[in-house]
């Protein structure tokens, strides 16, 4: 069979037209009875342990909304993609969801690295990304709704509480060596100095490194009376174990952590953490009917009677409801409609009332402090009376009366200080 150039071009052109046409047809067919949204978490790779739980919580929220009648009478249809614990894959999958599937809304990401990797896709193509994790702040995108805590929501009652209630005066700040712990440390220092205490060290260990011998020895010789830990991931387990093995007790020199959650406590053994503190807006131990019911429904949904719930998981769940309310308010599913609709939306989440701040699309959350008990659960020892304002630029002097991040974007003139 001979192929001349003309017939080759013809077939190819026809093929391209068919490929380009197919998604259009399927979209119009689907749009009649469902609303499509993207769900983008890592289902494989090193981060899949935690991101799988976020994906489950998102899908559970979608299932619950569908069971109670959907959004504006339409069922939600989730298109799941796997970020594979790799920022580059995240970017490719986000492009697929936004450009090929033409979705206006995607729920996803756990790490800041993966969020930064997908951000250009959402900003360039104008789609909305709902991000459920606590993060370091210093971001102000009009295409992202941030439903996890920013540094001021984990630290602004934690540090004064450590100083006033625990009576501690000298801080040793320790973290994993990447952007989140380093930004957290900046906010810590501002708050420590403002409250009349001092810090003696600001030290880092490489991410994933678990040789804590030298660091804990430094803590011993530093004269600090409290350790503020921004250590993340599997290093946490080795840190708490080394801490106890070098003869420390949490009643004399407590570890006060911002990231240590129920998952790490279970892995290290509760006896190593008993007596230490963590600050988060949500704990599994929150004693309200909403949370009890939430934990039960989640455990049924994932078919695991011992499944653990945590802060990012709670945000991954409630942000779907905030999106639903935004769609219903705007009566449209376009990105622009959702962005305007979600401003000021309130919801009663398993962790209490939450609200999207109209100015910066971050979320009002209630800071809580828990002390870890010998049974591996947190006991809530202090909670803010109400949700507090999210300030993504608090490390750079942002306050409620002087916002850096507004619907117009970030104000660069304020940032240089």
């Amino acid at each position: 069979m001979s192929v001349n150039r003309r017939s080759f071009l013809k077939t190819t052109a026809g093929g391209v037209a068919a490929v380009a046409g197919a998604p259009l047809f399927s979209r119009t067919a689907l749009a009649a009875d469902t609303i499509d949204v993207g769900v983008l978490f890592s289902l494989t790779g090193g981060l899949s342990i935690i991101e799988k739980s976020l994906s489950d919580a998102t899908l559970m929220a979608i299932a619950e909304i569908n069971a109670s009648g959907g959004v504006m009478g339409k069922q939600i249809h989730a298109i799941s993609e796997d970020g594979a614990s790799d920022p580059k894959t995240y970017n490719e999958k986000a492009s697929k969801l936004v450009i090929q599937d033409k979705l206006a809304t995607v729920f996803g990401s756990y790490t800041s690295a993966s969020r930064k990797a997908v951000l250009p896709v959402f900003e360039k193509r104008n789609a909305m990304y709902f991000y459920p994790t606590y993060y370091e702040g210093y971001e102000c995108s009009r295409n992202v709704v941030y439903t996890g805590a920013v540094p001021n929501q984990q630290l602004s009652n934690f540090i004064p509480w450590i100083i006033k209630t625990l009576g501690k005066k000298t801080f040793f700040i320790v973290g994993s060596n990447y952007i989140y712990p380093r930004e957290m440390a900046k906010v810590c220092k501002i708050l420590i100095e403002k409250n009349g205490a001092k810090w003696v060290a600001d030290e880092y260990l490489e991410l994933g490194d678990s040789e804590w011998g030298s660091m804990v020895n430094k803590i011993k010789n530093s004269g600090a009376d409290v350790v503020l830990s921004n250590v993340v991931g599997d290093s946490v387990v080795a840190f708490y174990r080394e801490f106890k093995n070098q003869g420390f007790t949490h009643d004399k020199l407590p570890i006060c952590a911002t990231v240590t959650s129920e998952i790490e406590i279970a892995a290290m053994g509760a006896e190593y953490a008993a007596g230490s503190y963590t600050s988060f807006p949500y704990f599994q131990a929150i004693d309200t009917p909403e949370n009890k019911s939430f934990i039960e429904r989640y455990r049924t949904y994932v078919k695991d009677p011992h499944a653990v719930t945590h802060h990012a998981l709670c945000s991954a769940y409630f942000q779907v409801f905030l999106w639903k309310q935004a769609v219903e308010k705007a009566k449209a599913t376009t990105a622009d409609a959702i962005r305007e609709g979600v401003r000021g939306q309130e919801f009663l989440s398993p962790g209490g009332a939450v609200k999207i701040e109209p100015e910066n699309l971050h979320t009002w959350l209630t800071p809580r402090i828990a002390q870890w008990q010998p049974d591996g659960q947190g006991k809530i020892v202090d909670a803010y009376p109400a949700p507090i304002f999210p300030l993504p630029y608090s490390a750079y002097g942002e306050t409620e009366s002087n916002l850096f991040c507004t619907p117009k974007g970030v104000d660069p003139s304020k940032l240089k200080g």
């Binding site: 090193g46 899949s48 342990i49 799988k52 060596n177 030290e203 880092y204 260990l205 490489e206 994933g208 490194d209 678990s210 040789e211 011998g213 030298s214 660091m215 020895n217 430094k218 599997d234 290093s235 946490v236 387990v237 080795a238 174990r241 080394e242 106890k244 093995n245 070098q246 003869g247 998952i263 790490e264 279970a266 892995a267 290290m268 053994g269 006896e271 078919k303 695991d304």
Partner: protein, 297 residues
């Protein structure tokens, strides 16, 4: 100062614990065993599973983990490595593949999690290993406060090194291994069953990794990826020490451990890591065959 020295000693002993098995498989057999880290991981999971199913503690898991990983090593040698002797880069790729298989087998619970069956103790999550009461906290030895678990690791490492030395230098099979290291063809010509000795050597090296896994499980995190960074550190030690030299491996582990401990104490841990890599680069530039090496095959 004593504290800094002890930390360096402890870091060195942990390095040696992992490197000892590698020194044998890489040094003696010329196989770059990328699955060595996974052997450590399997050893750690043996501890987890032994507690759940056999109610065995950390100490009782040591012989068990040795047997489990030695058998797994024997299997890998028989099925894959045996066909790749004298093809250094191919062993690297093949054992890397084996490493991925073992990791995923643990993470996916041998594939059962895909059909909804869960095995407690396996899976993608972090696992908890209980440490005996007397190994938690610190004790005083000669007026110096010693971290009990780290002290225990040092003792186990010394014991393992001593046993390895006995086998390699004082037993008939050790003599055969050393003969094969020098010249496999000549050794075969002298009547040594090279295949059998190689298989046993590989199994022994894997078994040592299993013991290392038990020791790691008591103070690091047990999860499917835990072995990957360890194999890198292990190779650094073996390369610096020199191929096939037990003494070189011990010396290199001690040297790198102290360098790490001292730099971390004087400056910080990130710099300590860089200092270790810098030292390794200097050594392999000046002495490409490592600190202590002699002519092999």
């Amino acid at each position: 100062m004593a504290e800094v020295f002890f930390i360096g000693l402890s870091v060195g002993s942990i390095l040696l614990l992992v490197a000892l098995g590698l020194a044998i498989t890489y040094g003696a057999m010329g196989v770059i065993n990328m699955a060595h880290g996974e052997m450590v991981m399997v050893g750690a999971y043996t501890t987890v599973m032994a507690r759940i199913y056999l109610k065995l503690g950390l100490l009782a898991s040591i012989p068990l983990a040795f047997i489990v990983t030695a058998l797994l090593g024997l299997l890998i040698e028989r099925v894959i490595v045996r066909r790749l002797y004298r093809r250094l880069l191919d062993t690297l790729l093949a054992t890397w593949g084996v490493a991925l298989l073992i990791q995923q087998a643990v993470r996916l619970e041998f594939g059962l999690s895909l059909i909804g069956i869960h095995i407690p103790g396996l899976g993608a999550g972090l696992q908890n290993v209980q440490v005996p009461e007397w190994l938690v906290g610190s004790t005083h030895v000669f007026g110096v406060e010693i971290n009990a678990y780290r002290g225990f690791i040092i003792l186990v490492t010394i014991a393992m090194t001593f046993v390895t030395w006995l086998i390699m230098y004082k037993s008939p099979i050790g003599m055969q291994v050393r003969a094969i290291m020098r010249n496999p063809k000549m050794a075969a010509a002298c009547g040594i069953n090279v295949e059998r000795v190689n298989a046993l050597t590989f199994a022994y090296g894997s078994g040592l990794a299993g013991i290392a896994g038990v020791m790691m499980s008591g103070f690091k995190t047990v999860f499917p990826d835990m072995g990957t960074p360890m194999v890198v550190d292990g190779f650094l030690v073996v390369v610096v020490g020199g191929l096939g030299s037990l003494f070189g491996t011990v010396a290199a582990a001690g040297l790198l451990g102290q360098l790490n401990g001292v730099t971390a104490s004087l400056a910080n841990d990130s710099l300590a890591r860089a200092a270790v890599f810098a030292a390794v680069i200097v050594v392999i530039v000046l002495r490409p065959k490592g600190l202590f090496s002699y002519k092999g095959r």
